[in-house]
């Protein structure tokens, strides 16, 4: 009975070890592409949510604390997406994926920050300009996701 228990415990330990080893392995090209798509989707969600919120603020539909929270949350989401992509070297054959995505993520962070500043200063022309830029950026991120998903 005891030996059976030991065998069972050893079996569970081996399975857990294999699971940890699998999870800790460096990403292959497929994993890297999947992570890149995930980062692009996070940035896409952030860019389009901020664009919706910015337009709603222009139309007088939002409360200031709410807008501030949404912009902070989405800026944080874009920063996390950037870290996710920069945090691992691209395996062979995926350098193009990184080189296409990184500029989009950098632009996303910049446009969200610029829109926030324009909204804070009541710069209506600037807000309109950054909303257009966010819409365009959203389309490009969407294209990226479609291409690599």
């Amino acid at each position: 009975m005891i030996s059976r228990r030991w065998i069972l415990a050893a079996g569970v330990a081996v399975v857990v070890w294999l699971g940890v080893a699998y999870c800790a392995a460096p990403p292959d090209a497929h994993d890297y592409r999947r992570d890149a798509v995930s980062a692009a989707q996070a940035a896409l969600a952030a860019v389009r949510s901020v664009a919706l919120a910015g337009q709603a603020q222009q139309d007088g539909k939002l409360l200031d604390p709410y807008l501030s929270t949404v912009i902070d949350d989405e800026a944080g989401a874009v920063a996390s997406a950037q870290q996710q992509v920069l945090g691992q070297p691209p395996p062979d054959g995926t350098r193009t994926v990184r080189d296409q995505l990184l500029p989009l993520l950098v632009q996303a962070g910049r446009e969200i920050a610029d829109l926030d500043a324009a909204l804070s200063h009541g710069d209506h022309a600037g807000v309109g300009q950054h909303l257009n830029a966010l819409h365009d950026l959203g389309d490009r991120l969407d294209d990226f996701v479609e291409r690599y998903q």
């Binding site: 995930s38 989707q41 996070a42 896409l44 969600a45 389009r48 949510s49 919706l52 919120a53 709603a56 139309d59 007088g60 539909k61 939002l62 409360l63 200031d64 604390p65 709410y66 501030s68 929270t69 949404v70 902070d72 949350d73 989405e74 989401a77 959203g138 969407d142 996701v145 479609e146 998903q149």
Partner: protein, 409 residues
Amino acid sequence: MKKFFAVTLGILTAIGGFVDVGDLVASSLSGARFGLALAWVVVVGVVGICAYAEMCGRVVAISNRPVFDLVRERLGARVSLLNLVASYLVNLLTLGAELGGVALALQLATSVSYLLWVPVAAFVLWVVLWRVKFETLERVFGLLGLTLVIFAVAVFRLPGHGPELWHQALSPVPTHGENWNTYGYFAISLFASAMTPYEVFFFSSGGVEEKWGPRELSEMRSNVFVGFPLGGGLALALMAVAAQVYHPLNVKLDTLGQVALPAALAVGKLGLAIAILALFAVTFGAAMETGLSSAYVVAQHFGWAWGKLVPPRRAARFHTVLLVSVLVGAAVLLTTINPIQLTEYMLVFSAVVLPLTYLPILVVANDRRYLQDHVNGKLANTVGVVYLVVIVVAAVAAVPLMIVTGAGG
């Protein structure tokens, strides 16, 4: 007239109290990703919770004892202990998620970080649970939860509420860019959000607190069979507005702020304010329910004095478990885990323990020693068994699907 008023109030409370942070997150995330292609799961979940809540209510009304108490007596200490451990851990996760929802709603209203609100929310929760009467708690937050109706109003004020939503609801398959694994994962999350274990513990223990008897059976059934489906309708409204605003834009939701935005787009500042109030009310109300449920299950298992009607001095161990549960729930959040992710994990682990919650209820509801002539009929047993099969399938598939999809991707 008084009876009519009581029934109406009970139904309204049940509607407002149905939705919690699990429903908010699961419905909104699903709506954004799949449109209304998973709306059928909400319907399935609501039918299931109605069937089992009615059994629980009947057990309480006839035996005057809560279900968890009878589970130990009927199935023995070992099964009961397994049930207790699983239910208590999931209750703790749920309590943490609800407190996170409260803190996030306060952040939306003030722009002060939710982490600073967590201790405040936990303290206020404990004070309210200590000082305020059970019926007042249930009524106030249940009725405040009705402000979620703002999302139903938003459905009709936003573009795309016509044939497109019907078409999505009638196409129960993964949408473009999604696969069956993620579809299954979100289906299980939605199902678990409707059938979260604390709901039946709170419902049955609350029945004892309110001293239900055979005369309250009709009132209990009207609350369950009218209130819960209408509450499910509010969950569908959350899904629909996410489907209208975010699904066409290919946006995946991951914040509570995104959940509230459709109300602002549809109704403006007033809509946004009502939506934030609704998010606060439903999560605070559910935090009270999960806090009490955590203490209920432990006290009932060990046979301690329990309940809001018993003076705290005579139910010291019950109140101690309550306090410790609230502290642990807050501590989980202060690790800085994202409350929305915590909610998603809570739903998966709820799905895993669902059989441990619902099988004993089915067994007790068929025991004539407790229910005499009010045991389950053929219909209740058929529905109960069919749902038990669904519950077991969901429990078995939950963790593998979470791993395969990376928690929904």
